[in-house]
Amino acid sequence: MRKALLRAAFRIFVGLLLLSGPGIRAQESHAEQTGTGEAAAHKQHGQEIDAGEIVAHHTSDSHDYVVEIPFLLHKTIHLPVILWTDKGLSIFSSARFKGDNEGKVVVTDDKGNRFVRIHEVIYYADKVKPGEEVSALDFDKRPLDFSFTRNALAILFVFSLLLIVMYYTVRAYRNPKKLPKGIAGFIEPIVLFIRDDVAIPNIGKDKYERFMPYLLTVFFFILFSNLIGLIPFAPFGHNLTGNILITFVLAIFTFILTTINGNKHYWKEIFAPDIPKALWPIMIPIEILSMFTKPFALMVRLFANILAGHTIMISLVALIFIMGTVYVSPVSGLFVIFMSLIEIMVAFIQAYIFTVLSALFIGLAMHEPEEHHAHETAH
């Protein structure tokens, strides 16, 4: 049903885009463009704008954090740039790039390194020719970047919020015999749900307790990130779980837990499955591959779902400016409200799916096959 709705919304969106025809033309004037799609659109009122660019800008990481509350506040916080260069560690404020993302401003640090910034990636100024196409994967052309970026700040913010919420939750348990009130009344059913419907059925009653902290942390981090990403102004509105690097780290943790907890049976299924030996050359590579495809699917599913949500919402707003008429705004507005409601549901569903699949993979790795032995003795 969700898919169908998404597809319908997407179709309408694409249809309208096609109608607008030449309206979607890239306008390379985003050097000074900051903030959400809405704000950017405001500035560009009456001009042709590139929805794709706005979406990309909003959903990707950045050295600058724009604190924006519509009509009240518009301020750019320049976060620190932390680089590991050929000559050692280099730390300076991203303000020194003066908002440049085209490689025009060259920053020289105290060790004599010269840097330029192109599309939020910092390169050695000497190794990039002007106008050259470069990507973040050209590691020989850029220093290692450990900058405390917008998303890093967002991670800290989400976890801090989670910690504060949990502090108030735990406080409600001073008298353990009383039913939880306030915020604990909201958190406890979720915790119980994770325990009774995610951990115990998938991992087993005797082993689940060890994994509860991990499952709960993952679930609440994803849920909080998803929900915070739906609030469109500072200090919220980050696209954390729609960033593949974040989901990559989460999936890696699940992968590590699965691998270190895999029992004899788990490894036997991979390297010596109970099938004719002639099939081993086919099966073993597939099994090894499946070790990695499981967390890979986890990573992509969460990332794609959240990114799609953000993309659709920004695109719906951008539609007003692409069409160039104010009469589209009620349509866009209604669609954004509609999508927001769906995205709230998606926020919970995706957090649940990631957690339940993590529990399932861990449970599968630790699964002891009882019926298998029975089968053998019957022979």
Binding site: T59, D145, A152, I155, F159, M166, T169, K177, P213, I244
Partner: protein, 163 residues
């Protein structure tokens, strides 16, 4: 999707995740799960207790029922015995009365018999006396005349056949 320097976010995410994972595990998840478990245990204990009390109540009730039934049976028994006793006593009394009456009757009969015997004796004596007196009177009358004396003697003598 604009992939900026991947190592940056991976580094910060891993760092923050690990730090907050341990913080949350120690200060949030463990206390919450412990509290929930404790409460569940206390609820379970309370439910068990309630079940036990309920069973005890049922047992007590059935005991009461049994006692009541026993009492009722006993009452019935006592009533039955009393009725039997009454019956028996009545019967005995009746038998006694019958016996007494019979005795009384027998005594009366005896008295009556003896009275009658006495009366009869009296009458016999009286009649005998009267007869003797009468006979005396008749004899005196007949013996007053000498001829008649002699005739009588003769007559009697003729009647007497001396063998």
């Amino acid at each position: 999707m604009n992939l900026t320097a991947p190592e940056s976010l991976v580094f910060w995410m891993t760092l923050f995740f690990l730090i907050f994972f341990f913080l949350l595990a120690k200060y949030a998840w463990k206390p919450i799960l412990k509290a929930v478990k404790e409460r569940e245990r206390s609820i379970e204990a309370a439910v068990d207790e309630a079940e036990r009390v309920k069973q005890e109540m049922a047992k007590l009730k059935s005991d009461n029922e049994k006692l009541l039934q026993e009492a009722r049976a006993q009452r019935d028994q006592i009533l039955k015995e009393a009725r039997e006793l009454k019956e028996q006593m009545l019967q005995e009394a009746r038998a006694e009365a019958e016996k007494q009456r019979a005795e009384e009757l027998a005594k009366t009969k005896q008295i009556l018999e003896s009275e009658r015997q006495a009366a009869l004796k009296d009458i016999h004596q009286h009649v005998a006396k009267l007869t003797v007196e009468m006979a005396e009177k008749v004899l005196r009358n007949q013996l007053a005349d000498k001829d008649k004396q002699e005739e009588l003697i003769r007559k009697n003598l003729s009647e007497l056949k001396l063998n």
